[in-house]
C-alpha cells in the first residue's frame, strides 16, 4: 500500500521510498526512511494534501508525493 491510500488515523511503517530526483531526496532528508513509523493525521479540506505525523513532527505533503512512499499498515 502507498501512504496516500493509508486511511485517516491509521498508523503504518515505511517499507520503501520510490520516485526519483529532488522529490525523493527531500522525502529522505526529512526522515521518511524505510522503517519509520508514520500516521495519517488529516486530509486537507479540498481533499489534498494530507497531514502525516512522523518522528515527533507533523508534515504536509500532496497525495501525488505520498504515492511514492510504500507503507505497511501496523
Amino acid at each position: 500500500m502507498t501512504l496516500d491510500k493509508l486511511p485517516r488515523g491509521k498508523k503504518g511503517v515505511i517499507t520503501a521510498v520510490k520516485g526519483k530526483g529532488a522529490l525523493r531526496k527531500r522525502l529522505l532528508d526529512l526522515g521518511l526512511t524505510p522503517g519509520t513509523a508514520v500516521m495519517v493525521r488529516k486530509v486537507a479540506p479540498l481533499g489534498d494534501p494530507i497531514e502525516v505525523s512522523l518522528r515527533g513532527f507533523e508534515l504536509s505533503l500532496r497525495k501525488s508525493e505520498a504515492a511514492h512512499i510504500e507503507v505497511e499498515e501496523s
Partner: protein
C-alpha cells in the same frame, strides 16, 4: 586589531533563524557579500561586538544539490568559508534538525549548535541531556530562545571563541558497516584532489557516495577514479539492497536515532504544544470552517490595513505632509525662488517624497499582522488548506497570501513573496500579482462606473476584478507550459505547533520590511516622479508651460495615442493619463481631470462622456487593470527578481496582455452593441 569574524547562521526553513538574526544584529542589515544572482543573503554586524558580522543563509534541510537555492547555500559554505557556523535547530524537531547538522559538521568549519525552543522541552518535563549531546557531537550546544532573546549572549561568545581558536568538530564519523567502508575508501582516493581544491575531505566523500556529480566536477576527479567511486557506490547499494541516496539517508538517521535515545528521555508521545496544535487545527483546518476562517482573517487584515487603522495613519501622515509642503511653498515664495525651482520642489520633490511616504503606514500595518500570522504558525496551515486550488496554476498553497495582498497593493504583496521557498514559485507569483486589482485603481473605477454604468456599478466593478483573476489564471496556465515548465517544486511542508508571537520579533520583522521598502522605493519612485513632473511642466523647447496641452507629456501622449485606436480610446488625453499612471495609478484620474480642465466630480463625468462610450470606457478600465504596474511596484519587482531585465520583461509582458485584453473587449463587445 582583531581579525574580522564572519558567522554563518543556518538551519531548517522556519526554525527561527530570521528571529535569531534580528536579535543578534538588532535589525541592522545590509545585502550580504555572499549574495549571488540566485540567492540573497542577509548580513549584519553583531551588536556590541566589533568586527563580527553574521550572515543568515536560506533555510534548508540538507546540503544536497537539487534545487538552485540549496546549491547556492552549499556554495557559500564551501567557497565563502565562514569562520564559524551557528547551526540553529528546533529542539522540538530534534531528529529532523540533526540531519543537516551531521552534514555541516563534515565541512571542517568551527561550529556551534544553538538549540531553540528549549523552554518548551523543559515545560514538558522532557529530560534533555545537553552534556551528553556535546560529548557525542564534540561541539558546544547552547540553549537559546530566539523569540525571547535568551541565551544569545552566550551563543555569540562561544561562536567567537570557536572562530578564534578554530576548533572544528572532532567527530565526523557517523557511519558503520558498508557505508563506512565506501566513504573511507573514497576519502583515500580523493585526498589529493580535496587538498588541491581546498575542499573538506569527509564532506566530499559523503557527497560522492550520494552520487553528487557537482562535487566530482569541482574536485576535478578524472575518469579512472570516477569509475572506482561508481564501483564503490554500487557495491554499497548491492550489499544494503537500496540505492545510494537511500543508504546515506538511512545511515544518518540511524545515527540520529541512537543519539536521540541517549540524549532525550520523554514520557509522553507528544508535547503539550503539539496537543494544543491538534486541538486548534480541529477548527482552523476543519473541513468546513477552514476556508471561511481564512477568508475572514484576510478580510479583517485588509480592513485594518486599507480602511480603518492604516487609513487613519495615512490621513494623519498626509495632513502633516500637506502642511509641510504648504509651508515650503510659502517659504519659497517669500524667498523669491524662480517659478521653475518652486514647481520642481513643490510638484516634483515633495510630490515624490509624499507618494513614497503615503505607502509606509499601510506597509507597516500589513506586515505587523502578516508577521503575527507567520510567527504564530498559521501560514503553513493556510498553505495546507489552499494548496489544491493553487496547484492547478503550477503554484503551491504558499502563494495565496501574497496574491491576496495584491488586491490591496502590489508593493507589499511582492515583498511577501520572500516567504516562498522556491525561486520558481517566487517569480511566477510576482508575475501574477499585478493582475490582482490594487486599491490605487479604485478611484478610477469609481469615477468611470459612476459616469457610464450608473445602474450596474456593482456588476461592472465585479466584472473588472473577475477579469483580473481570470487573466492571471490564463497567464499562469501559459507560464506553466512555457517558461516555468518542469516539475513544480515538491510541496512538502512542516506544520509546526502554534506559538504566541513575541512582540519584539514581530516588530523587528515589520521594521525590516518598512526599511527595505523605503530604501528601494525612495530612489526609483523619487526619480520617476521628477521625470514626470519635468515632462508635464516643460515643452520640447524646455520652456515652462502653464497649459498642460503643450507640455512634452502631452506631445508623448499625442504620439502614443494611435496605439490605442484599435482599443477604442485614441484620444490623446486618455493615453497621457495612462503614462502618468506609471508614477502611481491614482494619477490616471487626476490627470484626466487636469487635461479636461475640470475638477473631479460631475464635470469630469460629463467630459468623460465626450471622450468615451460605455464600451470604450470599459475597455479603458480593463487596460488600466492590466497594464504595466506603477514604478514603486517595478522597483520591488527589480529588487525581488534581481535585475532590471526582469522588471522590464514584466512591464512589457503586462502591457501586451492589457492591450490584447482591451482589444478583445472592444472588438468583441462591438459585435453585440
Amino acid at each position: 586589531m582583531d581579525k574580522r569574524i564572519n558567522i554563518a547562521l543556518i538551519g531548517n526553513p522556519d526554525c527561527g533563524s530570521t528571529t535569531l538574526f534580528n536579535q543578534m544584529t538588532g535589525g541592522v542589515t545590509h545585502k550580504g557579500s555572499f549574495s549571488t544572482r540566485d540567492i540573497t543573503t542577509k548580513e549584519g554586524p553583531v551588536r556590541a561586538h566589533k568586527n563580527v558580522s553574521v550572515i543568515e543563509l536560506p533555510g534548508t534541510y540538507s546540503l544536497s544539490a537539487y534545487t538552485v537555492d540549496d546549491i547556492a547555500t552549499r556554495d557559500i559554505l564551501l567557497k565563502g568559508r565562514p569562520d564559524v557556523i551557528i547551526n540553529l535547530i528546533d529542539a522540538t524537531g530534534f531528529q529532523r534538525s540533526l540531519y543537516l547538522t551531521l552534514q555541516l559538521m563534515e565541512l571542517e568549519i568551527p561550529m556551534i549548535l544553538a538549540l531553540n525552543m528549549m523552554d518548551e522541552i523543559r515545560n514538558n518535563d522532557i529530560d534533555f541531556d545537553l552534556q551528553k549531546l556535546e560529548e557525542e557531537l564534540t561541539i558546544p550546544a547552547i540553549p537559546v530562545s530566539a523569540s525571547k532573546n535568551r541565551g544569545i549572549h552566550d551563543l555569540i561568545h562561544y561562536a567567537i571563541e570557536a572562530a578564534k581558536n578554530h576548533t572544528v568538530p572532532k567527530r565526523i564519523d557517523f557511519c558503520s558497516g558498508y557505508v563506512h567502508t565506501a566513504i573511507h575508501t573514497t576519502a583515500h582516493l580523493i585526498e589529493d584532489n580535496a587538498k588541491k581544491k581546498h575542499m573538506p575531505l569527509r564532506f566530499c566523500s559523503s557527497k560522492l557516495m550520494e552520487g553528487d556529480d557537482l562535487i566530482a566536477d569541482s574536485l576535478d576527479i578524472q575518469e579512472p577514479e570516477r569509475d572506482i567511486i561508481e564501483q564503490l557506490a554500487s557495491d554499497m547499494e548491492h550489499h544494503l539492497c537500496t540505492d545510494r541516496e537511500g543508504a546515506m539517508a538511512d545511515m544518518r538517521y540511524t545515527f540520529i536515532r541512537e543519539l536521540t535515545d541517549n540524549v532525550v528521555t520523554k514520557n509522553t508521545e507528544s508535547t503539550r504544544e503539539q496537543e494544543r496544535a491538534l486541538r486548534i487545527d480541529r477548527i482552523l483546518t476543519n473541513r468546513i470552517f477552514a476556508i471561511p476562517i481564512f477568508i475572514g482573517i484576510m478580510l479583517l487584515i485588509f480592513y485594518l490595513t486599507f480602511q480603518s487603522l492604516g487609513e487613519w495613519l495615512c490621513q494623519g501622515l498626509s495632513l502633516g505632509i500637506d502642511q509641510t509642503v504648504a509651508a515650503i511653498d510659502v517659504g519659497l515664495k517669500n524667498a523669491g525662488a524662480s517659478p521653475a525651482l518652486q514647481s520642481l520642489i513643490v510638484h516634483g520633490v515633495c510630490a515624490g517624497v509624499g507618494s513614497v511616504l503615503s505607502f509606509i503606514p499601510r506597509i507597516a500595518v500589513l506586515f505587523f499582522f502578516l508577521s503575527i500570522l507567520e510567527d504564530s504558525g498559521y501560514m503553513p496551515r493556510v498553505a495546507f488548506v489552499m494548496d489544491k486550488l493553487l496547484m492547478r496554476l503550477g503554484l503551491s498553497g504558499r502563494s495565496i497570501v501574497p496574491m491576496l495582498i495584491g488586491f490591496g497593493c502590489s508593493v507589499p504583496a511582492i515583498m511577501a513573496t520572500r516567504s516562498l521557498p522556491s525561486k520558481r514559485d517566487r517569480h511566477l507569483t510576482i508575475a501574477l500579482i499585478p493582475f490582482m486589482s490594487c486599491s490605487a485603481k479604485l478611484p478610477l473605477y469609481t469615477i468611470f462606473t459612476a459616469a457610464f454604468f450608473q445602474e450596474h456599478r456593482v456588476l461592472v466593478m465585479s466584472a473588472i476584478y473577475f477579469t483580473g483573476i481570470l487573466v492571471s489564471v490564463i497567464c499562469a496556465y501559459i507560464f506553466k507550459h512555457t517558461i516555468y515548465k518542469g516539475d513544480p517544486v515538491p510541496f512538502i511542508l512542516i506544520l509546526p505547533p502554534y506559538r504566541i508571537p513575541a512582540i519584539k520579533s514581530v516588530g523587528l520583522r515589520m521594521w525590516e520590511n518598512v526599511k527595505g521598502f523605503i530604501k528601494k522605493a525612495f530612489t526609483v519612485v523619487f526619480i520617476a516622479t521628477i521625470i514626470i513632473w519635468f515632462l508635464r511642466s516643460f515643452d520640447a523647447g524646455l520652456n515652462m508651460v502653464s497649459d498642460p496641452d503643450s507640455s512634452m507629456l502631452a506631445s508623448i501622449g499625442k504620439f502614443a495615442a494611435p496605439l490605442f485606436i484599435p482599443l477604442g480610446f485614441g484620444d490623446w488625453r486618455a493615453s497621457t493619463a495612462l503614462i502618468t499612471g506609471l508614477s502611481a495609478k491614482e494619477a490616471v484620474v487626476s490627470t484626466m481631470a487636469v487635461l479636461t480642465g475640470t475638477s473631479e466630480g460631475t464635470a469630469l463625468s460629463a467630459m468623460l462622456n465626450t471622450i468615451f462610450t460605455p464600451l470604450t470606457a470599459f475597455a479603458f478600465m480593463i487596460f488600466c487593470l492590466l497594464y504595466m504596474p506603477c514604478v514603486a511596484t517595478l522597483a520591488m519587482v527589480k529588487k525581488e527578481m534581481g535585475g532590471w531585465r526582469h522588471a522590464a520583461a514584466v512591464m512589457l509582458f503586462q502591457t501586451c496582455v492589457a492591450w490584447i485584453a482591451a482589444f478583445l473587449v472592444y472588438n468583441i463587445g462591438g459585435l453585440f452593441i
